[in-house]
């Protein structure tokens, strides 16, 4: 190769690399990191990004240079030189990628091991997923539909599901774990940055999947200590609302007092009218029947999609609270 073409090739590669670097830096690709594990995952991400930009720049340089320099003229019927291969070159482009992926594997394996380390005294929170809600149970028995975590402490989530597979993810904490029925999976998170972040279900779990959302409040240890002592109902207003959120009703139903906007099942703001149409006893009886034995009556135009297990999974007193809450209607 001539010196001139090497310089041109390098120049194209550097320009391509510079453009890629600018794209990588100018756009905030990753969410804010709010935990120790996320910090480490972001580090792996940047480590891989640097390597990928180098590889991509080399490929682009050769590609662009070839397209630019080796274009055949319209009447050029000649062939190129019959080069069949070059053993040294082939060894180089086998060995270098092998070294690079080995490096990425080692860094990834170390970070994976660190991110699974929960320390000696983690806060253990049980996570129960069901269609279409999250339920979080603290060591003292407090059970709510959203997470509150102290900043700076290792938290070990004990994740399971009551029906199908769900997946627990907080983008700002980067850690993710499927909730699998019949098995308990654990996930370590160590939030460090105070704030409120979304909890998202990332595994398709049925019709209400898109709205199977919750949130995590990362607060100071002192505030956490105070919060965890409060009883569940005191912190969330109407007792029925806590049941409503915990049972995942918002995944499929609209109900203004709960800020629920699901569209899979009937709009619960119109319950009184629905009960009249159904003509199956009093409003309370109709609501209770629809929750406990949903197949008994299905509102016209809606799918038979109500999970069947609420009769057993919601305790009778909670069920009563939920029925009263819904019966009060939208103006409460």
């Amino acid at each position: 190769m001539r010196r001139g073409s090497i310089i041109q090739l390098t120049a194209i590669g550097l320009v391509a690399g510079a453009i890629c670097t600018a794209v990588a830096l100018a756009i905030p690709w990753l969410p804010v990191s709010a935990g120790e594990e996320a910090h480490r995952i972001h580090f792996v991400y940047w480590f891989v990004t640097v390597i990928c930009i180098c590889v991509f720049s080399v490929v682009v340089a050769v590609l662009v240079y070839s397209v630019w320099k080796f274009r055949a003229g319209p009447d050029d019927d000649s062939d190129g030189p019959p080069t069949h291969g070059n053993t040294q070159l082939e060894i180089v482009w086998t060995a270098i990628p092998a070294v690079l992926v080995t490096a990425i594997s080692i860094v990834s394996a170390i970070v994976l091991a660190q991110n699974g380390h929960a320390g000696t005294n983690p806060l253990i929170v049980k996570v129960d997923a069901r269609q279409f809600a999250w339920n979080f149970t603290y060591p003292n028995g407090k059970s709510v539909g959203y997470l509150t975590l102290p900043a700076g402490r290792h938290v070990k989530l004990d994740i399971t599901s009551e029906d199908v597979i769900h997946s627990f993810w907080v983008p700002q904490l980067s850690q993710k774990q499927d909730a699998v029925p019949g098995q308990h999976n654990s996930l370590v998170i160590t939030p460090t940055r105070k704030g409120t972040y979304p909890v998202i279900c990332t595994e398709l779990c049925g019709l209400g999947h898109a709205l199977m959302r919750s949130h995590v409040d990362v607060v100071s240890p002192a505030r956490y200590a105070a919060w965890v002592k409060q009883s569940a109902s005191a912190s969330t207003g109407a007792p029925g609302l806590a049941v409503f959120s915990g049972a995942g009703c918002a995944g499929c139903h609209t109900f203004k007092p709960a800020n629920a906007t699901g569209k899979v099942g009937p709009d619960l703001d119109n319950l009184a009218q629905l009960a009249k149409q159904a003509n199956r006893g009093s409003l309370e009886a109709f609501i209770k029947e629809s929750i406990v034995t949903p197949k008994a009556y299905i509102a016209p135009g809606f799918p038979d999609a109500m999970p069947p297990g609420f009769g057993t999974s919601i305790p009778p007193d909670k069920l009563q609270q939920l029925v009263q809450y819904l019966a009060k209607g939208p103006s409460q």
Binding site: W29, F56, P81, S105, L207
Partner: protein
């Protein structure tokens, strides 16, 4: 049979059946009355058995549909004539002397019946798969319309999930995999100097399973109660409790998989036993190498997806508990079995494309493929490694923790043979005489886009990053860079490259280039932003999403409509050029491989005389080099098994 009589039979049009024979001869008329009979059997058998056993209810939807989806397609295949010869043979009746009446196309009608000519079957495959490509694309347009804004606009979540599930299922099982089978069908026998595939009747049957599988998936979408809506991955236990349409999905995948396995067996036997004299393995064109490795993958892996769907069906219909935790089932078992197929499936959808790109780049650069042997060996390396990486789809699934690092390492290592291929293509182009015809543009588009898809694959192979990115739009972006920027671009490259050979006509080069640029730009505008929204926190398979992703989703939706519209240019170019394009020469690309050494389209049995292969297929620039010579003295022509 003498040569003269043989030649006479080859060119004689079959005499059309008359009178009652029109109803009993294989064809659409027979389909019209045989299919209902088999439909009746599928309906009567379970009802009768349930009645006799005293089971309630006698009419059980999931049972009936399962049995129907076995018997009705068989009825169709019997009607169209898929089993005629074998039925004669099996029943002891004298098999009709092969008259080749089912071989070759004399008019357009011959494309709509059982045909044993691999060239006809290749075209049947391609036209059918492009039809399903359009259907799958339209489904994507529909759900992109829904995603243009957060909240529910056009579809409820059930319909949305059906659209997403079937978009993927059609694109994978009815477009990418069979489109490669179609190209391979047309080109492989020609490339190795054979007169047809090893098992022409099996070949015909393999094709006809495909429209059946496609119709089952499409009909499943409009089943009362709702279509299949558990995603194309169809994870248990969710899919076991879906509406009736899910059964259509389970069974449609079975039919497509059976078609795939039969074609792969056919390719393997053809490539191993029917190469022309002198065509050693180290003289095979890389497309043949690629299809050889792909067929091995299909034969080994595809039974696993059949297994996974059978298990789900048994859970549903027979109330078994393979994946039901309440009955002691093992939920993750489904994913292990499913991905043991579906990861190799990624290579099933990519390796034939690698073969196409090797052909196109060598010819359009006028240079031998750089490092030919390493190119072939890297295919084999991908084949072997491809079976050791399935659990990288399950890094967050809660499988055994120790499995994650080994699966990460093997996934990373696959980058090495893949890198060898990329660098070898670049080296093939180096110092070449590049011609930027449409196939070459798609090859270069593939090269650049597949590198991006491969690099985002490195991110996902790294367990910690995958934990963040899995099940988000980052995955959606990655698979579209690999399967669209990768596979679909290579399919387009292959279709344009062999279009003159298949139709005897030249496509319109200007429209081809327009198609490329519209697709290339539309593709990047649609899928590149998905990396960003995925990493930022948008999960996949949601009809509704957080408001902060609204603008970028609107942008993606608009870009995707542009991408969809670019297909119209392709369809117009193909249809118009097929009918009215200028006549193509036998070898418009001045290529050395065998398919270009015969007329366009090729004679009915491909070669009037058997070629003698004397050299490598890519000796461009070597003075006086030849791949094969015709007219060399040689004893007997290689005939497909069972045609004599």
């Amino acid at each position: 049979m003498t040569d003269a009589a043989h030649a006479h039979d080859l060119h004689a049009a079959p005499s059309p059946p008359t009178g009652w024979h029109r109803l009993t001869a294989p064809g659409w008329l027979r389909v019209l009355w045989v299919t209902p009979i088999f439909f009746g059997i599928g309906l009567g058998l379970p009802v009768l058995l349930r009645w006799a056993a005293g089971w309630d209810p006698i009419w059980k939807g999931s049972v009936l549909v399962t049995v129907e989806l076995v018997t009705t397609p068989i009825g169709f295949l019997v009607g169209i004539g898929g089993f005629d010869y074998w039925a004669y043979y099996a029943s002891g009746r004298p098999t009709r002397e092969e008259d080749h009446s089912g071989h070759g196309a004399r008019s357009w009608r011959d494309y709509f019946r059982i045909n044993t000519d691999h060239k006809v079957i290749g075209v049947q495959y391609l036209v059918t798969t492009i039809f399903f490509f359009c259907v799958g694309g339209l489904l994507a347009m529909l759900f992109r319309a829904e995603l243009a804004q957060p909240g529910d606009q056009f579809f409820n979540p059930q319909t949305y999930n059906v659209l997403v599930s079937n978009h993927a299922a059609l694109m994978i099982f009815l477009f990418v995999i069979p489109a490669f089978a179609g190209l391979g069908n047309y080109v492989i026998p020609l490339m190795i100097g054979a007169s047809d595939m090893a098992f022409p009747r099996l070949n015909a049957l393999s094709f006809w399973l495909l429209p059946l599988a496609g119709m089952i998936l499409i009909v499943g979408m409009v089943t009362p109660g709702g279509g299949p809506s558990a995603g194309w991955t169809c994870y248990a236990p969710l899919c076991s409790h879906q509406p009736l349409g899910q059964v259509f999905f389970n069974m449609g995948v079975q039919w497509a998989g059976a078609s795939s396995i039969m074609t792969a067996l056919n390719f393997l036997v053809t490539i191993i036993t029917m190469r022309a004299p002198g065509m050693t393995f180290w003289r095979l064109p890389l497309l043949v190498w690629a299809n050889f490795t792909t067929s091995l993958l299909v034969v080994i892996a595809t039974p696993f997806i059949a297994g996974s769907q059978f298990f789900v069906m048994f859970d549903r219909v027979l109330h078994m508990n393979f994946f039901e935790p309440a009955g002691g089932g093992y939920v993750l078992g489904y994913q292990h079995i499913f991905w043991f197929y579906s990861h190799p499936a990624v290579y099933i959808m990519m390796l034939p494309g690698f073969g196409i790109i090797s052909e196109v780049i060598a010819v359009m650069s006028r240079k031998p493929v750089f490092g030919y042997r390493l190119m072939a060996l890297s295919l084999m390396a991908i084949l072997v490694l491809g079976f050791s990486v399935w659990a990288h789809h399950m890094f967050v699934a809660g499988m055994a923790g120790w499995l994650r690092v080994p699966m990460m390492v093997t996934s990373m290592v696959i980058a090495v043979p893949t890198g060898i291929k990329i660098f070898s293509w670049l080296a093939t182009m180096w110092n070449g005489r590049l011609r930027f015809s449409t196939p070459m543009l798609f090859a270069l588009g593939f090269l650049s886009m597949f590198v991006i898809g491969g690099l985002s694959g490195i991110y996902l192979a790294s367990v910690p990053i995958d934990i963040h990115a899995s099940d988000t739009y980052f995955i959606v972006a990655h698979i579209h860079y690999v399967l669209f920027g990768g596979s679909v671009f290579t399919i387009f490259a292959g279709i344009y490259y062999w279009f003159p050979k298949m139709t005897g006509r030249m496509y319109n080069e200007k429209l081809g280039q327009l198609h490329f640029w519209l697709t290339f730009i539309g593709f990047n505008l649609t899928f590149f932003p998905m990396h960003y929204i995925g990493l930022q926190g948008m999960p996949r398979r949601v009809a509704d999403y957080a408001h902060r992703f609204a603008d970028i989703n609107l942008f993606i939706s608009i870009a995707s409509f542009g991408l969809g519209a670019s297909t119209l240019v392709f369809l117009y170019n193909m249809a118009y050029s097929w009918a009215h394009g200028p006549a193509a020469e036998g070898n418009p690309w001045r290529a050395l491989t065998l398919e270009w050494q015969v007329s366009s389209p090729p004679p009915i049995f491909n070669f009037d005389e058997v070629p003698q292969v004397v050299g490598h297929p890519y000796e461009y620039g070597v003075p006086g080099a030849q791949h094969a010579i015709f007219g060399a003295p040689h004893p007997t022509p290689v005939q497909p098994v069972g045609t004599d």
